[in-house]
Amino acid sequence: MSFFIEPVTRDSVVVQIGKALDFRNAADFKAAVQEQVRSGVRNFILDFTDTGILDSTGLGSIFSLYRQVSPMSGQVVFASVSRPVQVVVQLTRTYKVFRQFPSVDAAREGIR
């Protein structure tokens, strides 16, 4: 399964997370964002509009991305966070690291 990735600027993209990011597709997510990082992308807007499931393996793959791009002044931000995702973010207190935006458009503005 692939992830839909839409370029915003030369070094920013929106990644549509889709219905689920969990142990079944976390490796695909990693591969997809790795390719982006290799081609110079540093800022990732993760669109959680439709996301019903985010498990710890899925969250781990987002953490890996954060660990990779933050030393290069990159950002990982969350947009349009669904309730199930919000629960996980609250639990792990990761809102301290991932900025949240009410919509993808707001995130596009916010990371400029």
Binding site: S56, L59, F63, V87, L91, R93, T94, V97
Partner: protein
């Protein structure tokens, strides 16, 4: 599940295409026209099974098989010989090289498919069994065999790992007489890899605790150090864990905790159950993250419940996850029970969508006995063992 990959080695073009066509409906098929080509294919990526002709130009099937025996990782690939040589001599030679099956041309393709299927099923069955056995072994070693025994306290522990289990942690150590450090956590990831990692992680935390406790007994300080190591140490890169440290001093009826992104504990008193709300970020993400200690005094009769996300994320019949509200309710209902954790487990399962937990769960219950005044209300002195069992 990923498709099995099969390498077909056959010099005869039509037969090669036929096998490729039939097998590719179920498997990921690659082909080679002789032994030499086959070795190249194998070196590119190990197949799950090889079907090979015997009589081929350049390098024949026997030579291919012998060459695969030289390397450990290729010698274990299931191997089926396919040949027109129906004579007994080549059959014996085929047997001698240690092939798994031997099919004589002309053959029935459905029979070949059935044998391929059986061979692959057997191999993956062994793999699954092995993984499960190693995983179980780690699980058993990860979980302490006993709990601290402290007068005036009742401790309970419940652990139910699933087959494809992850990295739940529970560990305790008496750091000095009367002071206990309890570690509860969850290492991210699933399967054997997470298990192996968790195993080393627990050993790591144990040795860290012993080293750090000489200079500090603050759970938050120790948590900050472990977080830093997770972020800085290359071998631990890409590893994340939620961690809950409890420093428990029974004599003072005091628990001091630091919480790194772990599901928040519940305290249950006569007034009801409530969340111990303070917590900090998960470990391994931000090297500069700060952690804070929170002290909780435990009144007589009160209990503290800790749990892992498997409980929190259990799907209920209502369609919702259990969530913190559900945990609070279950903890409140279990309060006062002889076996509070059994009560929580059965209570949650009775309202679950399915009659079992979808994920590992690990529960820990620490209950301070009610004060002597309360105990005296029950006529304990009628018990012939009551006085001698009581240390006072």
């Amino acid at each position: 599940m990923a498709e099995h990959s099969i390498l077909v080695v056959e010099d005869e073009h039509t037969l090669r295409r036929l096998l490729e066509y039939r097998l590719s409906k179920k498997y990921n098929v690659r082909t080679a026209a002789n032994g030499e080509e086959a070795l190249v294919r194998v070196s590119e990526e190990l197949p799950d099974l090889i079907i090979s002709d015997i009589m081929m130009p350049k390098m024949d099937g026997f030579a291919l098989q012998a060459s695969l025996q030289d390397r450990k990782e290729t010698s274990v690939i299931p191997f089926i010989f396919l040949t027109a040589k129906a004579d007994e001599q080549s059959r014996l030679k085929g047997r001698r090289t240690g092939v798994d099956d031997y099919i004589t041309k002309p053959f029935d393709i459905d029979q070949l498919l059935a044998r391929v299927e059986r061979l692959l099923a057997r191999t993956s069955h062994f793999q699954t069994q092995l993984d499960a056995r190693i995983g179980e072994d780690f699980s058993r070693k990860l979980i302490p065999k006993q709990l601290p025994r402290v007068d005036g306290y009742k401790l309970e522990f419940h652990n139910a790992p699933r087959e494809v289990s992850g990295g739940d942690i529970f560990d305790w150590t008496e750091v000095k007489p009367g002071v206990y450090f309890i570690t509860i956590g969850d290492v991210m990831g699933k399967g054997l890899q997470a298990k192996v990692y968790t195993f080393s992680f627990v050993g790591y935390i144990r040795s860290m605790l012993h080293a750090l406790l000489r200079t500090s007994d603050s759970p938050a300080e120790i948590m900050a150090r472990i977080n830093q190591l997770l972020v800085d140490d290359p071998p631990l890169e890409d590893s994340f864990a939620t961690l809950l440290f409890l420093r428990w001093e029974p004599a003072r009826n005091l628990v001091t905790y630091a919480n790194g992104g772990h599901p928040r504990p519940v305290i249950i008193t006569e007034r009801g159950a409530e969340i111990l709300s303070y917590s900090d970020i998960i470990l391994g993400l931000d090297g500069h993250a700060e952690f804070k200690d929170t002290a909780v005094s435990i009144p007589p009769g009160a209990a503290i419940l800790t749990y892992t996300d498997g409980l929190l994320e259990q799907q209920m019949a209502s369609g919702e996850q259990l969530g913190e509200e559900g945990v609070i309710r279950a903890a409140g209902e279990a309060f006062g029970s002889d076996r509070p954790l059994d009560r929580i487990v059965s209570g949650v399962l009775s309202e679950s969508a399915k009659p079992e937990f979808a994920d590992d769960i690990l529960l820990f219950w620490m209950e301070r006995e009610a004060s002597m005044a309360t105990i005296r209300q029950t006529p304990r002195w009628f018990s012939p063992f009551g006085e001698s069992a009581d240390p006072k």
